[in-house]
């Protein structure tokens, strides 16, 4: 597929073998275990997973805003950008101090939109002040220039009457409006990467759709690279080009969106897809993943998902599966993809859904990779 071509020169972010642990009263929590991820210019990747799977920790590390008890055990986060002199420069974010990241990159190159717009805005400052603050600091604009830009930004994110809103406080706006303001702040200094940490979870469905469409529009205009963190697969389907499914600190399935959604291979991805009722689900029971996520305080032997996996093989309890290349850009960490493994089909409800989904899109191919 033409759409899913990646060009090496366009790579803006590459994470390799990232391991992060947290020192807690209960012991050491291995929150991230060997994450590898790439982000290219202009594309959107989505990180999907349950709470505690490590998706937020991963992006917070990129931003250098990890909690104080966190420690990067190993790995690199290489960020490529155009510096002040107009040259391409690559830095390893894990080697920089939090202070340095904060002064040089946050807001200016990498910006973040948080889940709850009420807690991410300062209630004692006007909207205008909050938007212009970053611009005056990073871009050295005068107050006048910054104000003008801020008003243009407010118009861009779809806020009517920007001059009036500029002087208002966060509590005078509705939830959707506030999230628009947060997006405007994130975009204020023309970043290359926008990280959206569950940007719509706190919002209503109708507003959620509007915000997602807005981010998409801005992304196309400014050639932004966007990282979404979410647990809502509907949102992923709407926005993402690439998907990384995380479980217990590892990426267990990754690929472009069509590969992961129309041809999922990992039992956890099956479970996630099947447990979300789409509006055509008629079966009497929802497919539910049994049990709860593992406790990362304990050493994980074998596949972390094995205890919840009805399809687990004997080896799943003994050795951690490597990333299997199943063709295209699709990688799966499951022993089921080993050539020696028995062939196991996804649960019935999911198979029906996959067939229906392919039919709806007019896809005749059962599996693109095998055809190619």
């Amino acid at each position: 597929m033409e759409k899913f071509k990646r060009n090496k020169e366009d790579r803006v972010l590459s994470i390799r073998d990232l391991n992060i642990s947290f020192e807690t009263a209960g012991g050491v929590v291995k929150a991230i275990r060997g994450v590898r991820m790439d982000l290219f210019k202009g594309e959107t990747i989505a990180i999907v997973g349950e709470s505690g799977s490590g998706k937020s920790v991963t992006v917070k590390t990129i931003m250098g805003i990890m909690a104080a008890n966190g420690k990067i055990e190993s790995g690199t986060i290489n960020y490529t950008f155009t510096n002040e002199k107009g040259e391409r420069e690559t830095v390893d974010m894990t080697k920089l101090s939090q202070k340095e990241i904060r002064y040089r990159f946050n807001g200016k190159h990498i910006a973040m939109v948080f889940q709850d717009p009420m807690t991410s805005l300062d209630p004692t400052m006007t909207i205008g002040k909050q938007i212009t603050e970053g611009m005056m600091l990073h871009l050295h604009l005068t107050r006048e220039e910054a104000n003008q830009r801020a008003i243009k930004l407010l118009t861009d994110v779809g806020i009517e009457n920007p001059e009036k809103r500029f002087k208002q406080y966060p509590h005078q706006l509705s939830g959707g409006m506030r999230q628009r303001v947060v997006i405007a702040i994130a975009l204020a200094c023309d970043p290359d990467i926008l990280i959206c940490d569950e940007p719509t979870t706190a919002l209503d469905v109708t507003i959620q759709a509007k915000i997602l469409e807005l981010i998409k529009k801005i992304q196309q205009e400014k050639e932004l690279s966007v990282i979404y963190i979410t647990h809502d697969l509907g949102v992923v389907a709407k926005v993402a080009d690439y998907v990384d499914v995380m479980y217990a600190g590892r990426i267990i399935e990754k690929g472009n969106i069509n590969e992961v959604f129309y041809d999922p291979r990992h039992p956890y991805t099956w479970g996630l897809l099947a447990s979300m009722p789409d509006t055509d689900t008629n079966s009497k029971r929802l497919f539910a993943i049994p049990g709860t996520p593992p406790n990362l305080l304990e050493e994980i032997v074998g596949d972390a998902f094995a205890p919840r996996n009805p399809f687990a093989l004997a080896i799943d309890y003994k050795a951690e599966p490597p990333m299997f290349n199943v063709g295209g850009q699709h990688r799966v960490a499951s022993w089921l993809c080993d050539p020696r493994a028995p062939k196991i089909d996804p649960p019935e409800q999911l198979q029906e859904r996959l067939i229906r989904m392919r039919a709806e899109t007019g896809m005749s191919v059962v599996n693109e990779k095998e055809g190619a």
Partner: protein, 325 residues
């Protein structure tokens, strides 16, 4: 599933319920402004709408956490609106229960699980002796998928999904006729949501409980509900069976709500644009609308003109086969 007898008297009959909150001399919030609906025994009625539409207020007014401003609520033959007689109050407290949104906040952290669950039985004197009480508690703990050992633990020792199970056990232990689930699954992870929804459905099959399911996640509501009411700004703008709401939505707000549900089908989802509903621009005034019946079960709040306009629009959409909300 047990058949629902729609010819019988409804279990809950709500007529013109209003719940206003007086903020100050000049301003009153009309959170719920005259809604009417019926819930029959054994069914699940889903109430959907955006935040601020009054769906939670409705639930809280029904269970009398608020004193409704006006309107009539008949629950299983008892009038539970206005001043409650002590007999009616006793009946209400035993037979209507609530499952709350946040399982972290709704359990007393200083009480053991068994004590939390037993409380309802103790207050209502629904047990013969200590042994009977203990047995009833353990039976319900088992039913919601927890084990005996969990009974002596504290809420803090459980995960979100397990805590919601405790909340469900607490609600069901008095064997209520109606359970109000106010966003009961919104705070849980996707994989856990499915577990809890399955549990609620199983318990309904087994015990014949009726649910009022309040939520904003339409795909889950569709999955669990028999009938749905769509609320907006204090009014039920459209009500009907799940099928009717999803295949033949009439009210523009319902249509915009349906169009906003993200589908997990990337190719389609990328092309779809949600439909905006602007109440002011369309000039809709809910207080002028009356309920127009489309079928016996399906009705929409509209003035005569609006009703004609919207049904024509819906018919056109039907003919064009554009029903992909």
């Amino acid at each position: 599933m047990t058949e629902i007898n729609y010819n019988a008297e409804p279990l809950l009959h709500v007529e013109n319920l209003k719940q206003h909150f007086r903020i100050n001399r000049k301003f009153t919030t009309k959170a719920v402004d005259g809604i009417s609906f019926d819930i029959w025994a054994g069914e699940t009625y889903g109430l959907v709408g955006e935040s601020g539409s009054g769906k939670s207020t409705t639930g809280r007014a029904l269970i009398r956490l608020y004193n409704p401003t006006s309107g009539k609520i008949i629950f299983d033959g008892h009038d539970i609106s206005g001043n409650l007689s002590s007999a009616d109050e006793k009946f209400l407290r035993q037979n209507m229960q609530m499952i709350f949104q946040d399982p972290m906040a709704c359990l007393n952290p200083r009480k053991k699980v068994s004590e939390i669950i037993a409380q309802g039985l103790e207050i209502n004197h629904l047990y013969k002796d200590k042994e009977d009480l203990e047995q009833k508690v353990l039976a319900i703990i088992d039913k919601v998928g927890l084990s005996k050992e969990h009974a002596t633990r504290y809420p803090a020792q459980f995960s979100g999904g397990q805590r919601q199970r405790i909340g469900i056990a607490r609600a069901l232990v008095t064997n209520p006729k109606l359970v109000i689930a106010d966003e009961a699954i919104s705070a849980l992870d996707v994989s856990i949501q499915a577990q809890v929804v399955n549990l609620m459905k199983d318990l309904q099959d087994e015990l014949g409980t009726t649910y009022l399911f309040i939520a904003h996640d339409l795909s889950m509501v569709k999955y669990i509900s028999d009938r749905i009411g769509v609320m907006h700004l204090g009014y039920i703008v459209e009500t009907g069976t799940t099928d009717e709401i999803f295949t033949n939505p009439i009210h523009p707000y319902t249509i915009s709500l349906l169009s906003a549900i993200p589908h997990p089908n990337p190719v389609l989802e990328k092309k779809r644009v949600s439909i905006t509903y602007d109440k002011a621009a369309e000039g809709v005034d809910y207080s002028k609308g009356v309920n127009h019946a489309i079928t016996k079960t399906h009705s929409v709040l509209a003035t005569d003109e609006e009703f004609e306009k919207w049904t024509r629009k819906a018919e056109m959409a039907h003919e064009a086969g554009k029903l992909n909300y």
